[in-house]
Amino acid sequence: MTTTLSGRETYKDELAKLAETEQRIICLEADLGGKNHPFQIRHPNRFLNLGIAELAGVDIAAGLAEAGYVPFISTFAAFAALRAAESVKLSMGYMGKNVKLVAPYGGVSGGWFGTTHHALEDIAVIQSFQNIRIACPHGEEETRRVIREAAASAEPYYIRLSRNDAFESLPRASQRSCRDLLVEERAAPDVWPRLCLISVGEQATELCMKLAEEYDFIVHAHACYVDSQSLKAYVEPLKALADRFLVVEEHRATGGTASYLALLMSEYPVHSHNCGEQWPTYGGTHAEVLADLGFGLEPLRRQIQSLLGGLDGI
């Protein structure tokens, strides 16, 4: 029996596999890759732990990219998006260097680690830099595909992962890119949905899958990529799905996917289920910290009920 891997373990495993045939791939860590890193074991000459130096690490990756390498550099999302923000803005956003920044511990997946290790602002920060692809894959298979897409692309990438959550991805046709909006197949496709849930990230996708299964007036669209270019490409497919939208994302409302989609779809109501305005000051598991922030299945169900005036009689 095979075990489903978490996003960050999937990343390491997939990158090590890709590097068997792609000699240009370099794996950089900022001392948070863990021991027995599969890339280090299989490709020691192309694995570098640069130490606790995120700002320099991204610029060094830019130098490697300029010379033709495809550097993947990984550190926790809080440090990748915030501590190294200026290097990301300049090297990846402005100059478009082919650097792939892989960021586990996205959102509050660090759970009991506390706020220093949480990142509820990262997507807003990275999206504002422009030109950087932002992917928030759900589950092992989608994470593997995103890593492959990033390696094959000449664009800079920010890939947001969780800590230890391990999920099975929604099924996606093999020929479809993860950049395509993934609409979960519905049992009663002839019912015009009253609401489209748009999921961003792993926990959000799990919540939306549950609710879409419970209520046939809900359609669920999973957005793996949430950079501004990808969101623009989602607009027409979304309009064909419903007249009202609720984005579910483990992020602040400010600068989140919902706020940008609301600008792009100004003629439609776009709502947001997010992590609110409070700081996550308490410990607990990932799900418990989310619950403290008002993010979860029951709060989401109540929000839908409030939006639609009830959940019965549809």
Partner: protein, 269 residues
């Protein structure tokens, strides 16, 4: 194997000596100070000899990358690239103007500038990344960063130096334009960088101290011939070549009238 880079006005420039190129570059810097925007003239005149020699020694091989990390001296970088025929147009003719790529800090959309510096420290880390790539490729190429002494106040510099040491980047050269000045005054008054030689030695660098305006000294100093990365502490004079500016911390940035620019250029020759 050395690879060539595109050169404009090759015949016109081919007979120029290092001294000729440095003098012509200084004239261009002065012209940029006479542009409507003015320019960071003091640090441009202090660093120009370092740039001219670095390009003479390493600029013809695509495996080398010379990065001006103290990007506010963009006028010097543009001037150096122009006197080596690396830029298609005279930067002084449009410096800082609307629609011009000759912005006040280096523009990576220009040929010969792979990395946009200006926010201090980043160019040093980028050059280290280039050096790392060349070592991985076994090309023999070098990463060469030219920074300022005020820039050493940035934490990113020391973060990078730590990595350069840890990765044993013996093909990395860090040239520091020690002109003693920064935006608001003297480095020694604001945040002194004491024991610089010892600091770099502690970070595992070989260290050479030179007069940063003597071309022969620069040429021989910027050579990697040890098992360590190299730091070159180049003692320079802010505003070098223009008597009214030399050593004056207020010369960090200036906007001058055309007639003054003419007089200063005449004084150079």
């Amino acid at each position: 194997m050395e690879q060539s880079v595109p050169v404009y006005r090759e015949q016109e420039l081919s007979d120029l000596s290092l001294a000729d190129r440095a003098r012509e570059a200084r004239k261009l810097i002065i012209d940029m100070a006479a542009a409507p925007t003015g320019c960071h003239i003091g640090g441009s005149l202090s660093v120009i000899d370092l740039l001219v020699v670095a390009y003479a020694k390493y600029g013809h091989d695509k495996n080398n990358s010379v990065i001006l990390s103290k990007g506010h001296a963009a006028a010097a970088l543009y001037a150096a690239l122009y006197v080596y025929g690396r830029l298609p147009t005279n930067p002084a003719e449009s410096y800082g103007r609307q629609g011009s790529l000759y912005t006040g800090h280096p523009n990576h959309k220009l040929p010969g500038i792979p990395f946009a510096t200006g926010s201090l420290g980043h160019g040093v880390a980028y050059a280290a990344g280039w050096a790392l790539a060349q070592r991985l490729q076994g090309s023999g190429g070098l990463g060469i960063a030219i920074g300022g002494d005020g820039e050493l106040q940035e934490g990113l510099i020391w973060e990078t130096a730590q990595i350069v040491q840890a990765q044993s980047l013996t093909n990395f050269i860090y040239i520091i334009d020690c002109n003693g000045g920064q935006n608001d005054g003297y480095v020694d008054d604001i945040s002194p960088i004491r024991h610089l030689k010892e600091r770099f030695e502690a970070f595992g660098f070989a260290v050479r101290e030179i007069d940063g305006h003597r071309h022969d000294d620069i040429f021989s100093a910027i050579t990697t011939d040890s098992d360590k990365p190299l730091a070159v502490l180049a003692r320079t004079v802010k505003g070098k070549g223009v008597a009214a500016l030399e050593g004056n911390p207020d010369a960090h940035y200036a906007k001058i009238p055309a007639n003054l620019a003419r007089r200063w250029k005449v004084s150079l020759s």
